[in-house]
Symmetry: T
C-alpha cells in the first residue's frame, strides 16, 4: 500500500490551546483523525509525526525515500527559517506538499516568505484543518492513480 | 442553489498553447469541464468568466455580492500588480480563494509576491488544473454545509 | 461656462457598501450630488465619470484638453499602480487635483506611495466626502477668478 | 467660542524671502491675515504660532488639549524628522490637519515621507497659501456644526 | 505576405501634443506613415493598433500567433507595470521587439525597469520615431530572408 | 508556591570560558546561584534549564503552561533566528521576559534584531549577570503581589 | 552622596493623559515619587528633569560630568531620531541606562531602532513605570558599592 | 567625410570563441566588415577600435571631439561598472549610441543596469551583430543629412 | 567690513573633554582664537556661536541674510538629522561651507550621509581644527576679492 | 597525537543519493575514508561526526576545546542560518576551517552569505570531496609544525 | 625638499572643455600652475600626474612611498568604483587628501559615495580649483612643520 | 608539460610592505618561490604575472586558452568590481580557482561579495600564502591525472 509521510512542525503539538484566533480550536489529535479517515477512504497509508526539532525533521525526511511515496508537511515556524529542511526535501526526491493552517500572507511580513515553497510541488494555506485534507488530496493527485 | 463566481485572469484564454513546460497542455475549456463536473457532484452552480481586462474583473467582483456566495479566482499576472482587484475582493465581502496553476514560489522573484493573498481566505498553488478543483473544494469547506 | 472633469477610480461605484469602517457609509451618488450642488454655487460645470478601467480613464484624460479646464481625480487603487494615468495627466497639460476619501498614510505601506501625486498640482486625503469638496475648491483656487 | 491652534513650523518665519520658486512670494503675515479673515467668517477663534524649535512645538501641542478643539499644522522640515511632534499630536488627542505650501511629492525623495501624516486626520499639500485655507475648512468639517 | 503586428501603448494617441520636450512634435499618424512606407519598401505587411487598455493589448497579442510573424511594440507606460503584457508576449511565442521614443534610462528611476524587456528579443530606445523604424528593421533581421 | 521557568539558550553552558571581553568571566553556575538566592528571598521557585537545542527549548515552553507562571529567557543566538521559540512563547500564553548579558545593540548589525522581543513583555540587555537578576525582578513586578 | 541624573524625554510631561493603552495611567509625578523613594532607600541622590527640547537634553548631559555619576534616561521620541543626544552621552563619559515604558519592539517598525542604545550601557523596555525602577537598580549595579 | 568612432569594449576581441550560446559564432572581424560595408554604402568613415582597458577607452573618447562626429560603443562589461567612460562620453559632447550583442535585460540582474545609457542618446540591445548595424543607422539618423 | 557667521553645532561646547581619540584635545575656545586670528589677517569679521539647539541654529541662519555675507558651519550631529537646518541654509541664500573635525566617512555608516552637503557650496572634513581654518579660506575664495 | 574535530552538517548523511548534479556521487563514507587516509599520512587524529541537529553541533563544539586542536566543518544548510554555531565556534577559541562541496557562490542568492565565515580562519568551497582534503591541509598549515 | 605626489584622475585632462557648468572653464594646466605657485611659496616640491588608467594610478601610488611624503588626489570617476586605488592608498601608508572640483553631494546619487574617503585623511569638495589649493594646504597641515 | 597561468591582481606587487596585520609579512617573490617549488614537485609549469591593470588581466586571460590548462587567480581589489575579468574567465573556458590571502568575509562589507566566484570552479580564502598553495593543489585536482 502507498504510504505518505505527514510531518507537523514546531508548536503544532499544542494546537487548540495555542492562540485560537489565529489557529482555531481544533487539536492536532482531531486533525490526525480526519487525515486518517480520509486516507482510509482513499486507501493510502499515513505515518504522522510531530516534532519541534528541526534536526529530527531533517532526519525523517532524509530516511523517507524508501518507505514513502510523498510528503505532506506543515513546516510551521521552520517555513521561514530552515534551509536544512528545504535541502532535505529537495535531496530526498519525493514530491512534497506544503500546508499551513492560517493564511501566512495576511500575517506578519516575515511570514510571507517560505524557504520550503520553492522545493515543494505546491502550497496550500489558510483553510485551517482543511489545508491538511486538501493537501492530502493534492498529494494523491500528484501521485496519480496507483495500481 | 448556491452559486460561485469563477474568474480566470489574463492569458488563461490561450492555455494549452502557452508555454506548456510551465502551464501544462490542458486547455481552459477542459479545466472548465472538470470544474463544472465537480460542481454538479457537489450540487453548486458556477459562473465562469475569463478576462484579460483588469477593469472588467473589478466590475464583475463589484457586482458579485447578491448573486454569488464566494469567488474562486486565478488572478494570473494581475496577482502581482493589481491593487484594484485586491480592493474589489475586500470590498465585496465574499470569501475568495486564490489559485495558481504553477508554483509561483519557484518562479521569478516578482511572482513570489501576491497582492491578492492578504485579502483572500487562502491560496492554493502549484497543482496544475487540480489547483482549481482543490480550490473549489476549499470554497465549499469555507461555506460549510448548505441547507 | 468653465467645465471640470471629475474622475472616480476603481471600486468607487460600490461606495457605501464597501468597508464602511475605512470609507464611510456615503454613496457615490450622494457625493456627486454634493459636488454638483457646490459646483452650481460656484457657477462651474462638472462632468462626472466613474470607471474601473485604467484604459478608459486614460482615454478620458487624453481627450479632456479641449473640453475641460481642470481635472479632479480620485484614482483609488490606480494611485499606486498606474504609470499610464500619471502619463495621461502630465500629457494632457490640465491642472489636476488628487483626492482620497481615507488617509492613505495611515493605511498599508503600499498605499503610502502615489504615482499620481508628482504630476498633480496638489493632493487632499483623509476627509471622507469632504476631500472631494475641498478638492473642487482647490481646483477653483488654482484656476483663479474667471471672466 | 471654538478655538483652533495653528502651528507654523521651521523657516516659515522667512516666507516670501525664501526660495520663491518653490514657496511663492506671500509672507507669513499675509497668510495669517487670510486665515484670520476666514476664521472670522466662520466664527471660530485662532491662535497662531510660528516656531523653529521642535521642542517648543511639542510643548504647545502638549498643552493644547483644554484650550483648543483642533490643530492646523504645517510641520515644514519637521514633517520628515520629528517623531516627537508625531507623538505629541497622537498624545493630545485633538484632531489635526497637516498642510504644506508646496507639493511635497514632486520634490526630493526624502520629502515624500511624512512622519506626521499617519496620526493626522488628513493632509493637504501643494496649493500654496490655499493649503492653509482649505485646511481650516477641513478642520471645521471634521468638528462638525457647533452649537 | 509576411505580416507584423505593431502595437502602440497608452497615451501614444495624443503624441505630438504630449510633452514635446520629451517626445517630440511628430504625431502617431506621421509615425505610422513612415512605418508603412518602410514596410512597403521591405515588402512586408503591417497591422497597426493603438490602445490605452492593457487588457486589449493582451487580447491582441493572445490572438496574434496565426496571423503574424512578429510583434513590434512600444508598451509605453505599461513597460513598467504590466506583467500581463509580458506574459502575453512570452505565451504567444512570436519574436517581439520593444521600442521607446525617449531614452527611458535618462528619465525617472521607475522608468529604468522594463518588465517587457526580459521576454523581448531586443530593445531600442531613445531615437524618437526612428526607434520604430530601426525596430522594424530589427524585426526583419530576426525573421531572416523570406521566400 | 509561584514557579518561574528560567531558560538559558545556546552556548551559555560554556560561559566564563567564552569570549570574556563580551560576556565576562562569570559562569552559568554562578549566575544560577545568584538567581536562586534572589528567588529564595522573594519566595518564588525557579526551574532552570540550559539547552543548545532550539527544539528542546520549544518543547519546554510548550509544556510550561500548567507548571509555571512566567518565563525568564536568554535566547542567546536563537534571539535572532528562531521563529519557533517566538511562536512557542506567544502560544503558551505566559508572560515572558527576555534578557541578554551583553548590550546586543552595540554589537554586530545582525544582533540588533530580536525575533523574540515583540512577543515578550519586555527586554533587558547589557548588564551582565545583573540582566538576569533585574529580569527576575521584572517578572515579579509583572505577576504582581501573590497571595 | 552619589548623584544620578534622571532625564525624561519629550511628551512624558503629559503621561497618564497620553494614550493610556500604550503608556498606562500613571503620571510622571507618580513615577518620580517612586524613583525618589527607591533612591532614598538606596541612599543615592537624584536630579530629575523632563524636557521636550532635544537641545536642552544635550545641554544637561554636556554639563553632567562633574555633578553626577550616571545617567538614567528615557529618550522617548528622541530615541529614534537624535544623534545629538547619542553624541552627548558618548561624549560625557558617564555610564547611561536607557529605559522605555512600553515595549518598543512590539510597536511601529521605526520604533525598533534606538540611536541611543549603542552608547548606553544597557537598555530596559516594556515594564511601564517599573522600567525606571529597574533602570535605577541597574545604574546602582553598574556603579558598584560606594564608600 | 563624416567620421564615426566605433569602440568595442572588453572581451570582444575573442568573440566567436566566447560563450557562443550568448554571443553567437560571429567574430569581431566579421562584424567590422559588415560595419565597414554599411558605412561605405552610407558614405561615412569609421575608425574601429577594440580595447580591454577602461583607461584606453577613456583616452580615446577624450580625444574624439575634433576628429569624429559621433560615437558607436559597445561598452561590454564596462557598461555596468565604468563611471569613467560615462564621464568621458558626457564630457566629449559627441552624440553616442550604446549597443549590445545580447539582450542584457534577460541576463543576470547586475547586467540590467547601464551606467552609460543615461548619457547616451539611445540604446540598442539583443540583436547580435545587427545591434551594431542598427546602431550605425541610428547614429546617421541622429546626425541628420550631411552636405 | 565683510562679516561671516560661524556656527558650531551640538556637543562642540565640550570639545577637548569629548572623546579625544576622535576629536582631538583642542577646545572650542582655542579653535575660536585660531579662527579670529586668521580672520584678522584676512580682514574679515566673524560672529561665532555655539548651540545645542536645532531651533536656535535655524533662528540664527534665518536672520543672517542682512548682517552676513557667508556662513561657516559645523553642524555636528545635526548634519545627519536636520532637514530644518538644511532648509534654513537654502532659504537664507548665503553661501555656506560645511566643516567637520573628524573624517565622517571613516566612522559609523549613519555619519556618511549629510543632509546639509547638498545645499552647501562645499564640504571639508577630517583635518581637526584645520577643517575650520581651511573652511574660512574657502569662504573667502567663494566671496572673491572685496573692495 | 594532535586531534582534529571534523563536523558534517545537515543532509550530508545522504550524500551520493542527494542531487548528484550539485553534490556529486561520492558518499560520506568515501569522503571519510579519504580524510582518514590523509590524516594518517599526516600523522594526525580525526574525530568525524555528522549531525542534522544544530543543537548537537553546538554541543560538540562547546566541548571540543580540551580534546581537539582545530575544527574542520562543513556547516551545510546551517551555514546560512545558524548564529548558534557561529557563536559556538567563536566561543570555543579553536581555529576552524569552513568547507563546502559545491561552489556556494554560483547557487541561489541566499547561499552566498555565510554566517560562519567571519569567525572561521578561512573558507574553501567548490571542489567536491577535495574541499575537505584541502581543508584538512589548511588546518595543518594553520596549526604549524607539531613536536 | 619635501615632495608631494599630485594625482588627477580620469577625464581631468580635458578640463575646461568638459561640461563647464559643472566643472568650470579652468584647464588642468592652469590648475597645475596655481598648485606649483603655491608649492613654491610653501617650499615643497610637487610631482603632478594625470591618468585615465586605474591601473597606472595604482602603480604610481604603490611606488610612492620612498619618494613622497603625502598624496593629493582627485580620483574623479574612480572615486566611486575603484577598490584598487583605495587599497593602494591604504597600502602605501602615506597620508592622502581627496579633493573634488564639484560638490559631489549635490550631484547624482551614485556620486555621493566615495570608496576613497574612508582611507584618506580628509576630503575637500565643491570649491572648483580652490579644492586643490585648499587640499595642498591641508596636506601641509597634516605633515606639520618640516625641518 | 601542463601549464597553469597564475595571476596576481592589484597591489600584490607591494606585499609584505602592505598592511602586515591583514596580509602578513611575506613578499610576492617569496610566494612565487613557494608556488614554483610546489609546481616542480607536481611536475607542472607555471607562468606567473602580477598586474595592477584590469585591462591587462583581461588581455592575459583572453589569450590564455591555447597555452594553459587552468588559471589560478587572486583578483584582489578587482574581485569586487570587475565584470570584465569575470567575463574574461567565463569566456576563455579554462577552469579557474580564486584565492585570497585574507579571509574576505571577516573584513569590510563590500569585500564579502565576489564578482569572480560565480564563474570560478571554487574559492579559497583566509590562509595567507597557503591560499595559493592550496589553490594550486585544487587546480591539479580539477585537472585530474595527466598523461
Amino acid at each position: 500500500m502507498l504510504k505518505i509521510l505527514v510531518i507537523h512542525g514546531p508548536n503544532l503539538d499544542i494546537l487548540g490551546a495555542r492562540e485560537p484566533k489565529i489557529y482555531g480550536r481544533i487539536t492536532l489529535k482531531e486533525i490526525n483523525s480526519k487525515l486518517l479517515k480520509l486516507a482510509k477512504e482513499k486507501k493510502v497509508g499515513l505515518e504522522i509525526i510531530q516534532s519541534n526539532h528541526e534536526g529530527r525533521i531533517v532526519d525523517l525526511i532524509g530516511k523517507s525515500k524508501d518507505k514513502f511515496k510523498a510528503i505532506l508537511i506543515n513546516p510551521a515556524a521552520y517555513t521561514h527559517t530552515s534551509v536544512a529542511i528545504r535541502d532535505a526535501i529537495s535531496a530526498c526526491g519525493l514530491p512534497a506538499v506544503e500546508v499551513h493552517l492560517s493564511n501566512i500572507y495576511s500575517r506578519e511580513e516575515f511570514r510571507h516568505n517560505s524557504l520550503i515553497a520553492p522545493v515543494a510541488k505546491g502550497q496550500i494555506s489558510g483553510f485551517g484543518e482543511n489545508s491538511y485534507l486538501l493537501g492530502l488530496l493534492a498529494v494523491l493527485k500528484l501521485l496519480g492513480p496507483q495500481k
